[in-house]
Symmetry: C2
Subunit: 303 residues, 2 copies
């Protein structure tokens, strides 16, 4: 089965305390799609300008990513510039140029409209709603979000929660959205807003997965010592998770065990992604490496 992915596609300038690189492939949908592509075919919905480098298109095409839903329009591609502080945990946006993204309407090609798995990557809730308006009976809808939308579009985000099966967000966002300090209470509050499943990402502390009837999974973080660029960690987590679900769930109901495995595979892809800038590491990892790191996750959490 394939996964329908919508999100931003952009060109990033990124500065860390040790390195600075410009004109990198970025955007939530780029990370999501390439990450999902390790597991399943992807139908990608997004927008780029005519300046979007051909090499990035070639990367997408080489990864079982269908581009019929990718709009290429006159003008410049979305641009983001950010800087990470000394501990790589906090970052500041230095500039944003929406460019062609400003008037993006995610219109789905006819053959994208009956997706099994939908991943609403991190974009404005209005656009996420618009995608859901066009699909018929999706099996499982996952949505990612960020603090920006909690701040400027909270109402639309909360409306979205009633339309999705699973929400992915980080710990500070979960606290902000629910007003709960305790992450377990925050997870349960989010479930009460709609999604049967909630994944709270905690960076170096791993991830919490909340399921039905008290089902709960605490996924460890891979013990990384050499992080080069945290950009896209959340997107590659979501992409790996959605791609795994599309590959490993047939016509039967998606179970908590499926989701637990999906969270681990998402964590595997995210842990590789931060080892290099942009999608550089995603370009080189092999199925063997994915398997090896999965085994490592199992080993470090086994009682």
């Amino acid at each position: 089965m394939s996964v329908l992915i919508v999100g931003s596609i952009g060109l990033d300038d990124i500065k860390t305390p040790l390195e600075e690189h410009k004109n990198l492939l970025g955007g939530s949908a780029s990370y999501c799609a390439v990450s999902a592509g390790f597991f399943s075919p992807v139908n990608l919905v997004g927008i780029v300008g005519e300046d979007f480098p051909k090499e990035h298109m070639a990367l997408f095409e080489s990864r079982q990513i269908d581009l019929e839903g990718l709009q290429i329009v006159p003008g410049e591609t979305f641009r983001w510039s950010g800087e990470y502080m000394w501990d790589l945990n906090t970052r500041e946006t230095r500039s944003i140029a929406l460019n062609v993204f400003e008037h993006f309407t995610p219109t789905l090609p006819a053959n994208y409209k009956k997706p099994a798995i939908v991943l609403l990557g991190n974009i404005a809730p209005d656009l996420q709603h618009h995608v859901l308006d066009q699909v018929t009976l999706p099996r499982f809808v996952v949505a990612d979000t960020m603090d920006l939308w909690i701040n400027i579009a909270k109402e639309r985000l909360v409306e979205l929660l009633a339309r999705i099966h699973m929400l992915i967000l980080n710990d500070s966002e979960a606290r902000e959205l629910t007003g709960e300090t305790n992450l377990i209470k925050a997870g349960h509050k989010l479930q009460n807003l709609g999604p049967g499943y909630v994944a709270i990402k905690k960076g170096e502390h791993g991830c919490l997965l909340f399921g039905q009837e008290g089902e709960f999974f605490s996924c460890p973080a891979y013990p990384l010592t050499d992080i080069h660029d945290p950009t896209g960690a959340g997107d590659s987590f979501a992409g790996g998770l959605a791609g795994y679900l599309a590959k490993h769930t047939g016509d039967s109901e998606i179970t908590f065990d499926n989701l637990r495995q999906a969270v681990v595979y998402g964590s595997v892809i995210a842990s590789y992604n931060v080892e290099a800038f942009s999608l550089e590491r995603l370009k080189t990892i092999t199925q063997t490496e994915i398997g090896e790191r999965y085994d490592m996750f199992r080993r470090i959490s086994q009682l």
Copy 2:
């Protein structure tokens, strides 16, 4: 086998945003000893004044805790008063009265001097050294510490690290002691200072265990929603861990698997401890409850 435990024994006044209680049993050795007592006999080394309530002595006696090493001297028992902030994660010491603890010299009875397992509870590194000076060939020495000793007795603490098998400390202390932001690097740096094993406690995020030749275990946190008093969480973790080791390791070498299980049982005891003030919850938990929560730890971390 029994475990030798040294630490403070005191009477606490504790205020949280919702409750305030006075004259509670407290001190690192109290929590350590009662927690270890769920698994093995304890030889307790500490000091109290003649005002120390008989009910607390009765509690110790009811829990396979030998009191020959407990000094009861004229004067008042050590007192601590603290207040927790709104999220229960930060606390302020409101007052300390060392009282009889000021001139405490931990002198071991003759039959305490060949211990299998030693737990140096959280007290001044000088006192921890003094205990080690008196024991012969202990199988396994665990030391707990706190930020205070890093700040005022760092040199003696670092000297201690060369004399112990395992160090337990929390994440901010690990960062402070090593100057490393990355907890994985911090763990490895601490190992290079002496202890073959390091456990870094992360509160609501669980615990990391570092072993030999890259051995590593990420222990989840129990998903608590109802924390009443965090006091003694670290001490009960250390006590449960040391007690488990004393019970489950015979004459053979202590393995990483033993330590992994010990970390989980320590986490089980600590997770119960914070459900009520002082040692109230430790007074009531049963072996069945310990087993149930252990199973829960297994279930929430199983891949």
